[in-house]
């Protein structure tokens, strides 16, 4: 078990290194392959008014003329221990994890991301709680009452849920609940949890439900399929033969058996969302990582985009690690690996 954990931890670090290499390649190598020179790369850092001579100096200072390996080394070192940027007039310290400075604001990227992280985390975790409870409960009931009116209705709604994109359901619910019935905020506001938990929840209610609806639909279908399978297992018959109450049979024996694939998907979904719920945040104008990414892409602010990419990758890798470790807890047969 301990070796399993250590092996998975090492593997995660390897994964993150590979992700950083790929990210580096996308931002610094691919433009060169397309014909960009060191000066073209440096031009983005110095602004439009700089002369060709100034750009040349900047390219040298930023190290764009060094071998690629050295450049990557500097890039990786910046993330791990921080970096010093030489702007000419003086040297500026960019503390770890250093993703560089925004082209536009000239502020380091990481503190920006740190500011927006609570919004995305609040959005993702809140929605996750709703969709897991709603999705799994609906799936279990559907499986138990297979073919009933409830089952058909729930599965039709679920089909609609997975089919409709967030920007559609988001807009519709904004029109309906915020502008029409005026029972929720129209988005764009975020109150930190520590400031006022009630307002925090109220502000996020509609985004939560919209986001959860999309995922709950998928989870309901997944849970239903899993439950239909496990409830036909021999061990369910054994559980009944022991004289267990039906509720215990369903939850302790049936659902437990159907939980593994749900856990896997949940880890990946949550990991992805923590890297930015782009559509939801855009639709509701929430100042989270996803909105930040969209804005950065619009402005071609490469350091910001790179920062988001690396943070998102970090969450996905960590989510995978947690899922793999939980796997061993959920399914004892995994422990041998």
């Amino acid at each position: 078990m301990v070796t399993y954990i250590i092996r998975r931890l090492i593997w995660s670090v390897v994964m993150l290194s590979i992700v950083s290499i790929i990210t580096f390649a996308i931002f610094f190598l691919v433009p060169r392959l397309a014909g960009a020179t060191s000066e073209d790369l440096a031009a983005r850092y110095v602004g439009r008014t700089a002369s060709a001579e100034q750009v040349k100096v900047a390219a040298e200072k930023l190290g764009f003329n060094d071998p690629l390996v050295v450049q990557y080394g500097r890039f990786a070192k910046g993330i791990v221990v921080g970096a010093d940027y030489d702007y000419g007039p003086g040297v500026e310290r960019c503390p770890a994890p250093c993703f560089g400075y925004s082209f536009l604001t000239r502020l380091p990227v990481w503190p920006d991301l740190l500011d927006r992280l609570p919004v995305t985390i609040s959005l993702a975790l809140g929605a996750a709680v709703i969709w897991v409870i709603a999705g799994v409960a609906t799936g279990v009931l559907s499986a138990l009452k297979r073919g009933s009116f409830f089952d058909r209705a729930a599965m039709s709604i679920a089909l609609a849920g997975v089919s409709m994109p967030i920007f559609f359901t988001g807009m519709v619910s904004l029109v309906l609940f915020s502008y029409g019935l005026k029972i929720t905020v129209a988005g764009g506001t975020y109150t930190p949890f520590l400031t006022n938990p009630a307002t925090w929840a109220y502000d996020l209610l509609l985004p939560w439900i919209t986001l959860a609806f999309l995922y709950a639909a998928g989870y309901a279908r997944l849970t239903r399929a899993g439950m239909l399978e496990t409830m036909n297992e021999d061990y369910i018959r054994t559980a009944r033969a022991k004289g267990l109450r039906e509720r215990t049979v369903v939850v302790k024996h049936g659902l437990r058996g159907a939980l593994t694939p749900i856990l896997t998907i949940f880890g990946l979904d949550l990991g992805l969302l923590l890297g930015g719920a782009v559509l939801t945040e855009s639709t509701y104008s929430l100042p989270g990582i996803g909105k930040y990414a969209i804005d950065a892409i619009g402005r071609q602010d490469l350091p910001q985009v790179m920062g988001v990419t690396l943070v998102a990758a970090f969450f996905v890798v960590v989510a995978n690690l947690v899922v793999d470790l939980l796997y061993a807890v959920v399914d004892p047969r995994v422990r041998l690996v």
Binding site: E233, D234, Y235, R237, T238, A239, R240, A241, K242, G243, L244, R245, E246, H253, R256, G257, V330, D331, P332, R333
Partner: protein, 341 residues
Amino acid sequence: MSFLELKDLRVHFPTDDGLVKSVDGLSFALERGKTLGIVGESGSGKSVTSLGILGLHKGGRAKLGGEIWLDGEELVGASAEHVRTLRGKKMAMIFQDPLSAMHPFYTVGSQIIEAYRIHNDVSKKVARKHAIDMLGRVGIPQPDRRVDSYPHEFSGGMRQRAMIAMALSCDPELLIADEPTTALDVTVQAQILDLMRDLQRDFNAALIIITHDLGVVAELADDILVMYGGKCIEYGTAEDIFERPEHPYTWGLLGSMPRLDRDRTERLLPIKGSPPSLINVPAGCAFHPRCTFEDRTGGKASTEVPQLVETEGGHLVRCHLPRDTRRSIWETEIKPSLEAS
């Protein structure tokens, strides 16, 4: 009244293709301390009968009819909740494949503890001690250590022992074993059968063994019931069935039993054809399309459903062949071919 009595039990499943009569009018009686073997091919209704007795069809699609009397209580008409409280406590079951019949995510011990605590209001600690005792009783070495193992960490024979420990944990008065040795190695089969015989003596339970293997019931059963197409076609003591079988299907079962004492060059005598469809049961005797002696019934076999009649001393047979014809066929044609070596 006997401890367990089935009267005209019927288990029917409505399907899109028609009504499947898995069990169609089954009656038998069983006393405490006695063993009944129910024998038949796949689809003959053996397992459906046992699940019916345990009330595991309740709430499902099956339609149950007739009566099941257990210790003076009628179960077919009883509420599902009441039958649930009897399950595990008064009647318990051992299943065919112990790997799939045990939950892969819980330890063997916790599954036994769970079974015990449903019907006994005791602490986890007491139940755990009981589980260790039970594992020791069914012959699992180092039970205090093995109690925390998962089913996949046990061998097939050990798993079946654990399954038996689980079934016996609440001291049931009726134990149903559905193909208890089918999934096991031959060497382990004998051990499990010995174990079941010993435990039955200790617990003085009524035991029903369901199997397709006459060899298994030969070891254990006092009485044997042969099922075909959802009906009982022959019933008698083990001696009746092995020494004086009167139904052509039973002869077929005996003929298709591999035996070590038979000459190797001699072939098994398989029953021709395949088990009947339970939706379109053949008219007349359900077995007549496969019966070698059908022509000696004077055409009755394909038109008239035979009744279960007593030939002598509790030995029941459902066959159109006249009694004397049956006996002479057994004595002159079947028995010599089984004994030839």
